[in-house]
């Protein structure tokens, strides 16, 4: 187990290193001249040189990379160009908001999608199965802003039951806050449902076809007991671990959903940073998103291997 963990951790570290290079090159090297990109083509050359000097983007690339990466891991994310405050204070606040929204969505989608997937698997190849699978996958590929707009139109405008903005009035209690978060969270639920349901369906079908299930049925066990004790136990736990790898999707979706619902989370922060050409904020935010994803995948891998010794032993060899 220790070897497996070390190997996973090592791989994640290498991936993280490559990720920092991608982010750094994406934001500092591709623009060629950072200050020119920020100030625009008509700016005075002296102003451009000044800003480049101020940002440190006139130094050799390797020095810049080293400086950026060492201060990043010391917790110093630099100053935001558009807000003129430390990037870390902006990100801390935004992360909290995004986590709240994501947690609400996950609490709704996980039971719902698992239920859908299990039902589809039990009624394999029937109409119910086709509807759950196709509808789930079709909904998952529609962009979040389209689903979000449709939900706003139906629930916000025509039925008038849910507020169109995600921001509850300050000081309102948890229930009111949840009411305001419902439409954005539902948009995420629709995005994630199809994928989780499909994994659950595949896992359940595999367990249904397994020899131990047939043995249990042939032993004369009631169907309900077989499903509860043999099928679900083998199909659900890995599913839950796989769900954790959905965080990447989730964060990508947040950029759009938070912008649409005007919700001050990580996604909207990245969007604002991109529109304002706020390179320090953008770099740090993207890197943090990447780290969150890597950590989540790592945890999912570990959880999955804990639940499934076959994986653990196969990779340790």
């Amino acid at each position: 187990m220790a070897r497996f963990l070390l190997k996973r951790l090592g791989l994640a570290t290498i991936t993280l290193f490559l990720l920092t290079i991608i982010v750094f090159f994406g934001a500092q090297v591709l623009p060629g001249n950072v200050a020119r990109r920020i100030l625009g083509g008509f700016a005075d050359q002296r102003a451009v040189d000044n800003l480049n000097h101020q940002l440190g983007t006139d130094r050799p690339l390797l020095t810049q990379y080293w400086d950026w990466i060492t201060s990043f891991f010391r917790g110093d994310l630099g100053l935001s160009l558009s807000y003129h405050v430390p990037v870390s204070s902006l990100i801390g606040n935004a992360l909290e908001h995004s986590l709240k929204l994501a947690a609400f969505a996950f609490i709704m989608v996980v039971p719902l999608a698992i239920f859908g997937g299990v039902v589809a698997a039990l009624k394999r190849d029937s109409i119910v199965d086709r509807v759950i699978t196709l509808a789930g996958l079709s909904l998952a590929v529609v962009p979040e802003f389209v689903t979000g707009i449709l939900l706003i139109l139906v629930f916000g405008l025509w039925l008038g039951i849910f507020p169109v903005s995600a921001n509850a009035p300050p000081g309102s209690d948890v229930l009111v806050q949840l009411k305001y978060l419902f439409l954005p969270a539902l948009t995420l639920v629709i995005l994630l449902f199809g994928y989780i349901a499909r994994i659950t369906r595949a896992g359940t079908i595999e367990a249904l076809d397994a020899d131990y299930t047939r043995t249990a049925v042939l032993k004369g066990m009631p169907r309900r007991t077989v499903i509860k004790r043999h099928v679900l136990r083998n199909s659900l736990l890995p599913t839950i671990a796989v769900v954790a790898t959905q965080t990447g999707y989730l964060i990508g979706g947040l950029v759009v959903i938070e912008t649409l619902f005007n919700y001050p989370g990580m996604g909207r922060l990245i969007f604002t940073a991109a529109s304002q050409k706020d390179f320090p904020l953008l770099e740090s935010a993207v890197l943090i998103v990447g780290i969150v994803y890597l950590v989540a995948t790592l945890l999912a891998d570990v959880a999955y291997s804990l639940l499934n010794p076959r994986i653990r032993y196969a990779t340790a060899e």
């Binding site: 791989l11 290498i14 991936t15 993280l16 490559l18 990720l19 290079i21 991608i22 982010v23 994406g26 934001a27 591709l30 623009p31 990109r37 196709l134 996958l137 079709s138 590929v141 529609v142 962009p143 979040e144 802003f145 389209v146 707009i149 449709l150 706003i152 139109l153 916000g156 405008l157 169109v164 990447g248 999707y249 964060i251 990508g252 979706g253 950029v255 759009v256 912008t259 649409l260 990245i270 969007f271 991109a274 529109s275 050409k277 390179f279 953008l282 993207v286 998103v289 990447g290 994803y293 890597l294 995948t297």
Partner: protein, 296 residues
């Protein structure tokens, strides 16, 4: 689709050319009978026709601002109403198909070509090349496509070429992963060993021997990715990072009008939204049907 039609095909190819042709005809027959595929073609087909002949079909000019009739609801004159500048929403929806249907397929094509080459190379050579490339793949996958695209567009400036390059380059490693898995299965087979024993050069073995036999996953991957490319292009133009702000574009039209929703103005956002949804669902049904024929 010119799989295994090479007249000088070596004897060791596992699927004989005429056999491959029969299999292909069988797959096409299955597709023609699949309701999923037909509905998908219908949905996507409408928008392809609009992209090709949009200006001929549109009842009004998509650009003409009828300043006296701004934000007027659907009527006999304007079936989908008019937008904030008094432009005909129906015409903009029809002509807007072009913006997304130029960028997305080209980006997907670029990604598929690069990804297939990368997958063949990593799957064939394995070892250190494989390890290095797969780590880069993981790093790219750690950041959602939309966020990488934002980063690159801010750095390079928005344009059609930037969009195609960014989406293509992000797709390449994802497609490479799938192709690599398929190649790993093929590389052990006898016909590959035979080709090696004949002293064929590696590029020949990869592209002339293995590639025709992994075309299934490549085609499936292309259709699936096409759906995601449309997703990405529409989302980026909604966020204001589209290729060209001067031409009608669904995502952009939605972003410029959703602020009016609270005032009861739903038509300039509903119709482009439905357009995006139907196009993507259509492409996805096609992808689903094609994948199903290859699974048999």
């Amino acid at each position: 689709m010119t799989v295994a039609q090479d007249p000088a095909a070596p004897v060791a190819v596992p699927v004989q050319p005429d056999q491959a042709r029969i299999a292909r005809r069988e797959r096409l027959r299955l597709l023609g009978r699949s309701p999923t595929f037909l509905i998908g073609c219908l949905l996507a087909g409408i928008w392809v026709v609009c992209a090709l002949f949009g200006p001929l079909i549109a009842p009004h000019s998509p650009e003409f601002p009828d300043v006296l009739n701004k934000l007027v609801g659907p009527s006999g004159e304007h079936f989908f109403g008019t937008d904030r500048l008094g432009r005909d929403v129906l015409s903009r929806v029809i002509v807007g198909a072009r913006a997304v249907l130029i960028v997305a397929p080209l980006a997907t094509l670029l990604g598929t070509v690069l990804g297939t080459a990368l997958g063949l190379i990593t799957g064939y050579y394995r070892g250190i090349v494989d390890e290095v490339i797969m780590r880069v793949v993981d790093a790219v996958l750690a950041v959602p496509l939309i966020i990488i695209a934002l980063l690159a567009i801010v750095a390079l400036g928005p344009s059609r070429v930037t969009l195609i390059l960014v989406i293509g380059f992000v797709f390449a490693p994802i497609i490479a992963k799938t192709v690599r898995a398929a190649v790993l299965g093929e590389a052990q087979l006898e016909y590959v060993q035979a080709a090696r024993l004949r002293n064929e050069r590696s590029p020949y073995v990869m592209f002339a021997e293995i590639l025709p036999n992994v075309m299934g996953p490549v085609i499936v991957e292309f259709t699936v990715r096409l759906g995601y490319a449309i997703f990405a292009v529409a989302t980026l133009s909604f966020l204001g990072f589209g290729a060209d702000p001067s031409i009608p574009d669904w995502g952009q039209d939605i972003s410029q009008h959703y602020q009016f929703i609270s005032g009861g103005v739903w038509w300039p956002v509903l119709f482009p939204s439905l357009a995006i949804a139907t196009l993507i669902v259509g492409i996805n049904l096609i992808a689903d049907a094609i994948a199903a024929t290859f699974e048999r």
